[in-house]
Symmetry: C2
């Protein structure tokens, strides 16, 4: 048993030190390896396979709404980045600059894209002339670079993978509609596929994207009660269009500026997946996103017929549409169990000589560790049922965690007490002044997460300043 | 008719100026748009959709052989790039250097990856300890940067998209086997999906990859008789393993160096697709790679029931598994025909009031312009047959072009005459000396494309120097 224990013992308990637990899990579950490049991570096969499934699911949803994929250059000339004032102020301090190409010093520095609004604007200015050219609904899957000083795998790294959608519309209404539509796609995807419930809302002016008219966000709550901004959707109005001169002639032949949006979701969401569902044995992946959904593990595999039977069961599972694998290595079953748990594979199927005699196998759920004895002739069917149950139960548990860790504060003292003692979201009214927002951050380190779409009234005044309340805000400490 | 003509007239004839024809096609077919970033292109939806299909097909084939996808950082610290001597010499003159991060000057320059051997080696040195860790069969889809001075869309650009596979093996034999296996996957993919026949062979030492032990290549012949290197597969032996100290303990507990390979195919192949199949009306896409396989075009679309019928036919085609679209815009049919031809969509389906009366539609092949009248109740079935025929015929025509443009030279004078007058491949014996290779290049601008796997004997001596011949070589002018 010494070997089995080692794999598990090497993880810090999440209640003891959540940050260390996270670091241990991403490393031990082999999602990520550190690299020689400061702040950049290597995404290993198990991590990348999760990203591929995320891509597949989102890409399909995007395309169903008419979105098309493109690819833009990774470099942005400094003069182009500077065209929209707020945008460059937001990003210039955190970009990487290319100053030499081959053996020559460049006449103009190029930044490695931190995001591609400026490139898309330049592109749209070239290809949009008439109302017939609208809307443009483009997206790209790529990597971006933001020169962060403190980095953590998936959560904050100098380079990360994401998709960035950029659209151009004839009217302000259409742009606003698209902004909300994409936010809803993110929210539905998180709930349905990742089993992560989110709070949908609008960012305050202080927290909105550099250059945006308004920014919408989905906020998820991690196991430790901290918030994670999990996807954002921005409405730019015609601000970028004016800076980049993107005009179209309408049906009356009048020149009009386009209205634009952008929306992005990144590998950061894998951090959420880990921190919402994981436990002290490692990852716990919801079946719909898990690259491997079922691991077949033979018991006493040297006994006659066991390996053959295990391989047969694996095929049965695959035939039922399950992403199944067989662990036929020469490790002990206990070691294999620990590995399957660490990797978060939703179910394992144990099959040994005794099971074979009785025409059965044992399915063990990763989420509850519940064991279900299943007759071999209904293995595929039962496994599918159990996977479905896991998906639903994981979402239900995450929802319950979100609900039980969302608090209400009627006074500012109450607010400070909750933030200090109860990790989670705190709902409180707000007057709309940035001064109060800054004071809260200074006093408590909590920030405004969003003004939720589902507004409630918890009183008429802002508890911080006493002025009339304008909005209910979700506050919280965030990653 | 003025409008219809405009779209077509704006393309230069391929026989008049092939390079200009190419540039016109990539632009008019909306595969690419130029950007403000020198040497970098924007890949538009129609271009990117081709790349997505290429990815889908290749990725599936890779994974069937056990390959897993990962993602490596896009930056390489200068010291890491320098670890393998030949490699850095090959790449250092053509990389982009990041020297500033945020507001700080970096202590060590980072190059934007031109290829990722050094990163994979560093990674492998970290994760490979035992023979149980082998083989490692990793691949990544990403963009790379090579600071080219003269650029052309797809063919040569400062940034391009590709996949790069990197594997580590216990033995030299296994590495060689993998190198050839991946070359065969490229060759089969080109023939089966892109309808591009290729010559498989080994590069001469002069032409091999920087740091490779041996490089294998697939070479395709463009319509203008120039060669295009379309995919390469490298065997590194244990050269990189020694430079990066990648060792594993074998079954006898002895430390051994791993043997490595790498193999890549890029968006360059889209250039081949254009230049092998296109004509003066634009692109011609083989059905298996075409993002849209059939365009339904209504005739007299304002007549009652025509649009509805066209939409119905589009659904019929989709139900048969065909990627079909309906052009319901208010352009004239002739304009729509030109667009469909320019975009290389393999078939169009014309349906008008007269066809409806007779319960038929007209299928027009893009490759031959042949019109086939089809009864509506067998539309799906017939369309599938025609698409299959187009795929086969396009490959047959490309094969014929390759065969009729492959020449044999017995003497050096003959060789020079062929190179000067007949664009294509020239087969000639070679002594193996780089001096003769250099002389040929200097005299004729033709380069050695490969030493084909299918060796033949055209004589005993090297026609250039008269020394004994070692190999038959394919020579040609290349992109």
């Amino acid at each position: 048993m010494a070997k089995e224990k080692k794999l598990v013992e090497s993880i810090t308990s999440m209640n003891e030190d959540f940050a260390q637990w996270y670091t241990d899990v991403v490393k031990k579950a082999e999602l990520v390896e550190y690299s020689n490049v400061k702040g950049c991570m290597i995404i290993r096969p198990d991590g990348y396979a999760i990203w591929e499934n995320i891509q597949k699911e989102l890409d399909r949803r995007f395309k169903e709404t008419g979105v098309e994929n493109v690819y833009m250059p990774m470099f942005i000339p400094e003069s182009l980045l500077q065209k929209e004032k707020d945008h460059v102020e937001g990003f210039a301090p955190e970009v990487a600059w290319v100053t030499q190409g081959g053996l020559e010093t460049l006449q103009e520095r190029l930044c490695v894209r931190p995001t591609s609004e400026t490139l898309f604007c330049d592109f749209y200015a070239r290809i949009i002339q008439s109302h017939r050219d609208l809307p443009k609904l483009y997206n790209q899957w790529c990597s971006v670079v933001r020169w962060e000083k403190t980095t953590r795998p998936f959560l904050r790294s100098a380079e990360f993978l994401w998709q960035e959608g950029h659209t151009a519309h004839a009217t302000a209404e259409e742009a606003e509609e698209r902004t909300i539509q994409m936010l809803n796609i993110y929210a539905d995807f998180c709930e349905e596929i990742l089993a992560i419930p989110v709070v949908k809302g609008k960012k305050t002016d202080k927290e909105k994207f550099a250059g945006a008219h308004s920014t919408y966000t989905i906020e998820a709550l991690m196991h430790d009660g901290k918030a994670l901004q999990s996807g954002t959707s921005h409405n730019f109005g015609d601000g970028f269009a004016r800076a980049f001169d993107i005009q179209y002639s309408d049906k009356e032949n009048q020149l009009q500026y386009v209205h634009q949006t952008s929306w992005g979701l990144s590998t950061r969401i894998i951090g959420a997946l880990i921190m919402v569902h994981g436990d002290d044995s490692g990852l716990k992946l919801p079946p719909r996103i898990a690259p491997v959904q079922a691991m077949v593990i033979p018991i006493s595999q040297r006994k006659e017929g066991v390996m053959e039977k295990a391989a047969e069961l694996c095929e049965t599972l695959k035939a039922a549409g399950i992403r199944a694998k067989l662990d036929g290595s020469d490790k002990s079953p206990g070691w294999k169990f620990s590995e399957q748990e660490m990797r978060g594979i939703p179910i394992r199927v144990e099959i040994g000589p005794k099971d074979m005699e009785q025409g059965q196998a044992v399915i063990v759920r990763r989420d509850t560790r519940e064991k279900v004895v299943v007759s071999l002739d209904e293995l595929g069917e039962k496994a599918l049922e159990i996977l479905e149950a896991i998906q639903n139960d994981m979402l239900a548990r995450a929802k319950e965690h979100l609900e039980t860790h969302t608090y209400e504060a009627g006074t500012y003292d109450e607010f400070k007490e909750i933030v200090a003692e109860k990790p989670g979201f705190v709902k409180m009214m707000w007057c709309g002044d940035e001064a109060c927002e800054l004071k809260i951050k200074e006093d408590t380190t909590a920030t405004s997460r969003c003004m939720p779409f589902r507004q409630e009234s918890l009183g008429d005044v802002c508890p911080v300043c006493g002025k009339p309340a304008k909005k209910l805000v979700y506050w919280g400490k965030a990653y």
